[in-house]
Symmetry: C2
Subunit: 208 residues, 2 copies
């Protein structure tokens, strides 16, 4: 099919996520395949969930603050991972700090290695139950992807990149994001892994 | 088909719900058709969400307490109702008190009119945006179902039935219920309208 002037680019899905967020794990592991199947480009939006929670007066995840919900969430996660055929190990530390891997994700957002990088970090947290916020962990992941790890880490920890992650987090809050994952399609917000399919369907079906 | 000794009854789904809960609206409107299609009996479990929320230190719904989440929820509800082909009008009062209709629901839980009664009360709240916690409203609903309204209302407001609803609410809390709707299948808990299909699939597929 020939194309004349393409007035509208293919509608993309914004994926706002946190490496410490267990429901983000489900979406980050699934989204690249699911989006590719439908021809939907992904716009990766790593951000920090901690400042958002603190703005609500919470000093940690609601899954920790509300014990009944927390107890349920781990059973739900095990079941969802079985459903999606994803490996799962309940993290012994939750929520895990993810500052460094998120700074790297911000650098990688437009890079071809982003999806694989995110899945690897997520797997370390939620399938291998290991800490992710350490230079040696992130270094190994980057090296395994054939990337210049030290250069990327240096750039990730530059003042300008640190500021950029804070700004991205402020932008999340300004757009009404209150949890992760959150998706935007044409400005319409979809919260939670449970809405990933609806968000992708919206990207495919067009506005209205 | 002939049956010899039926050792195990068909696995049922417990549906714990509140008439004031918007996500309960989605499930209550859908569950009878969805369960019937799969041959799954429904065990209706009306309860009061207010005491559960108060046990967390909340004086109202989290959708009111957390403005960002509340703003999102109404957009999500409109979208979900379009998806399920359900009428929708954002209630001008939220969450609506539902004490009397819940007391009646407790009486009707094993009655053949239960599903229709619940859908009618839910529709008044979430499709017609009218109060539901008034004897005249419940009376009309019962009469339209061809039921002895006054007799049912008298029994619903008896001390023993009031106590029974408090006990059912305590039972909900003791089982770890922290929101509505919540489903149980063979003791396994599923939270939210988003898990209704999984809960029904679990009821059909058997244990393990």
């Amino acid at each position: 099919m020939s194309r004349t002037t393409a007035l509208t680019p293919p509608t993309s899905i914004e994926c706002w996520f946190e490496f410490g967020s267990n429901y983000s794990y489900l979406s980050v592991m699934r989204i690249e395949d699911e989006a590719a199947r439908r021809g939907v480009p992904i716009c990766w939006k790593p951000f920090l969930l901690g400042p958002i929670f603190r703005s609500f007066g919470w000093n940690t995840s609601p899954f920790v603050l509300q014990q009944a919900k927390g107890d349920y969430v781990w059973k739900d996660m095990a079941r969802q991972c079985r459903k999606y055929n994803l490996p799962w190990q309940q993290p012994s530390a939750f929520p895990r700090s993810a500052l460094l891997p998120l700074r790297v994700a911000l650098l990688g957002a437009d890079q071809p290695w982003m999806g694989a990088y995110c899945r690897r970090i997520m797997s370390i947290n939620f399938a291998e139950d290991r800490d992710i916020d350490a230079p040696e962990v992130v270094t190994v992941v980057l090296l395994q992807l054939g990337l210049p790890a030290q250069q990327i880490l240096d750039e990730a920890q530059s003042e300008s990149n640190k500021l950029k992650l804070r700004q991205q987090t402020e932008s999340a809050q300004a757009q009404g994001i209150f949890g992760a994952p959150t998706f935007f399609v044409r400005g319409e917000m979809f919260w939670g892994d449970d809405r990933l399919d609806d968000a992708l369907a919206c990207a495919v079906s067009g506005p209205g």
